[in-house]
Symmetry: C2
Subunit: 443 residues, 2 copies
């Protein structure tokens, strides 16, 4: 049986997980693939470090270049993380004509186009299933399973840490800081949690999915992102009373052109955003709890489909890496170096819609003086901005100088909403800045 | 750009849908694939029939053999249904070395092994994504996305008609016959509904998934199947009170060997069944409603993953066929005739566990005389059979000679349960045969 030798770069959690998974299920994969995978070398930072996964010392080295250049190594597996050395590793391998498997979403987000160009130039492929949504084979689904579809919507719960925190806040009525501290203690959140809770991890992922769906490479700097740090247990409670669950949602949605401007040019101008969102409780995404990820993909032919699983962690990531190893091994076996290229720019004219033009519904929570005329003044500001109110809720049972006032707002664009909110926040009857959370009805 | 000419056999709902989808998104697919798909001919039963999808008359013929043999046709798409002519169509194409795409689960179920052997013998591939769960790319997920995993569980809601009927029975408290009649009027159920409601459609599908997961071809005759025709609104109501939703569930589960018999031989003896099941309301499968399908796949590395979408209908099926057309086109472009063979028998010693040995939990509904000692007599029969009762519920508010008695039963095998039920049904205090529905806790 043909043997494919792997050079693994990175011996941390993911590297150890992949090594372990290859040992565990390598024979099964060989029987399914007709190709045998063997780890030929593994570059790590410290060969003497104690590891949770035992790796034969003879495989370990600190010399990644030696592993990449080793003529015995057919396939380079970049699992070190970061965007500096990892970029050099990937480029070096591609220049040697060796295919690269990576789990590194930050690397793709920052240097995707350069890596894709190198893959094309040197005739070696780049595989990155593990970079988005861990064990969910969402890259394969988008590129192959739904290839016959124009993708009209993607809604992703792509960060397990955020989803874990929001789930516990909902079920326990706890506050953000409290749950975050607990999540850190349990290992579900990093000591430095900003990459997750500020939405930047999800940003990398949704950028990759948006790029694959719409055929132009999305510049991560153009993705509008808001974190979950400002979500309070009060808003989760009020949302619940209104029949909604708050989720950190990554959204890809082509802008609909006005009816009188002719047919929509699908894919040409696309919303790509990450922000907390009220999701109706009867929608399947509202039931995705704890550290689980899910991606809803709507295709113009297939309709709504949904993919659910663990989005991070050693094993979920290893499962996705193994899937790429299988594809790479088959490509090596069959001599098809770029059967499915890492990225096909089929919509070069595409662009990300600036956040100001993004339209959505909103939940607004105001802290107002309980006095006749208050609502009229707020409604007047919204009315002048042509922003429609779909309902007004004054929750009962509040005491003190001010009372909460919840407004549910019809479709409005971000810029108009921002201007109206600035005016509302200046009203004397409004005691603290309005809380604004978007509402998604999945139309 | 390279062009792949399709010969479509069958001009019904699915054939029309595929033709329409190729017209609609063919250019998009070409830009993604680098291969252009063109329908070169289409064999139908009646060229003059009025069709919902307009097909140029020049493409139509009643001569399927002419289409299959046409040297211009590179790829044969079998969408006619049935297992007789469809088998001849597929075998004829494969013998000519032409790859075949099919959406025909009954054909695969009945003649899969013969077709796989022909594909291997003549060096032409066979693709069948559309045969299971419509628009959900579950075949690709199992064979490629999760290839690094030993599959330890599959739970599928694989028949949209059953799920639609059970969903409406639950939400409306309606009876089976009533909802079925309505579903027939709305086109969600066939005039002859037995293939769906008796579970045989799901049987074909779960047999294919079980075969792919466990590496031996499952004989459909060995799959135990029970339909939903005996599910009453009363049982749906009681299940709801206990925190469960009744779903028609297809299950693939390797038998666990007793601890003292050594390590489990994964995959060697596998439960493959289709029957109505009580699913806990907080499990994600309980929320899969109406005509939607979903498949939960548990891998030993990835853990639980779930795939959700429309399982049938013109467009969902067309989406899956397009995915196969893309794979087939890439294989033709790259000259890789059997990159992923239609079936790899990697576990030749595998076998389906006879239903008698299948272990599960049960919901039992008895109709008993409300008299002291009744429960004791029933409990004694179960006790002698070493079947444990986990709870007993006597729903309130019933009048008349007899009252319902619900028993929730611990793990027991089907054979033991059947013997105990026969004894219970013979008791004078039991007024009508016990209703037995399995309970799944997804362990």
């Amino acid at each position: 049986m043909q043997q494919v030798n792997l050079g693994i770069i990175g011996g941390g959690t993911v590297g150890g997980g992949v090594f372990q998974a290859v040992q565990r299920n390598g024979a099964l994969m060989a029987s399914r693939l007709g190709v045998c995978l063997r780890v030929a070398g593994m570059a790590v930072r410290d060969v003497h470090k104690k590891r949770a996964v035992r790796i034969p010392p003879a495989l370990l080295t600190t010399n990644w270049l030696g592993v990449v250049r080793d003529p015995q190594v057919h396939l380079v597996v970049e699992l070190m993380g970061g965007t500096t050395t990892a970029r050099t590793v990937a480029l070096t391998a591609l220049r040697l004509g060796k295919p690269v498997v990576t789990a590194n979403k930050a690397l793709l987000s920052a240097h995707g186009e350069e890596l894709f160009a190198a893959a094309q130039q040197y005739g070696a492929n780049l595989y990155y299933e593990a970079s988005v949504a861990g064990g969910i084979p969402i890259i394969k689904v988008l590129r192959e399973g739904l290839i016959g579809n124009r993708i009209t919507r993607i809604y992703g719960i792509l960060n397990g840490t955020c989803n874990y925190i929001l789930t516990r806040m909902k079920f326990e009525g706890a506050d953000f800081a409290e749950v975050l501290a607990d999540a850190q203690r349990l290992g579900y959140a990093e000591a430095e949690p900003s990459l997750d809770v500020d939405g930047h991890d999800a940003l990398h992922k949704i950028g990759i999915l948006a790029s694959l769906a719409h055929g132009f490479w999305v510049n991560p700097k153009q993705i509008h992102v808001e974190g979950i740090g400002s979500i309070t247990s009060l808003d989760i409670k009020f949302a619940g009373q209104l029949g909604y669950t708050i989720k950190q949602l990554s959204i890809v949605k082509p802008l609909e052109r006005a009816a009188n401007r002719g047919p929509a040019m699908d894919g040409s101008r696309v919303q790509v955003t990450v922000y907390p969102t009220l999701v109706p409780n009867d929608h399947v995404l509202a039931s995705v709890n704890h550290v689980f990820n899910a991606v809803l993909v709507r295709g113009d032919i297939v309709g709504d489909t949904l993919y659910y699983g663990r989005g991070a962690g050693q094993d979920a990531t290893a499962s996705a890496v193994l899937s790429d190893l299988a594809d790479a091994a088959l490509d090596l076996k069959c001599g098809t170096k770029s059967r499915i290229p890492p990225f096909v720019p089929h919509e070069r004219a595409g662009a990300v819609v600036p956040i100001g033009e993004v339209v959505s519904r909103y939940y607004l929570r105001l802290d107002v003086v309980d006095r006749p005329g208050t609502l009229a003044r707020i409604a007047a500001i919204l009315g002048r901005a042509r922003i429609g109110i779909s309902s007004v809720i004054q929750p009962e049972g509040h005491e003190g100088d001010s009372v909460p006032l919840i407004l549910m707002i019809h479709d409005a664009n971000h810029a108009a909403m921002g201007r109206a909110l600035a005016r509302i926040n200046r009203l004397a009857v409004v005691k603290s800045p309005a809380v604004m959370i978007r509402v998604e009805n999945f139309e």
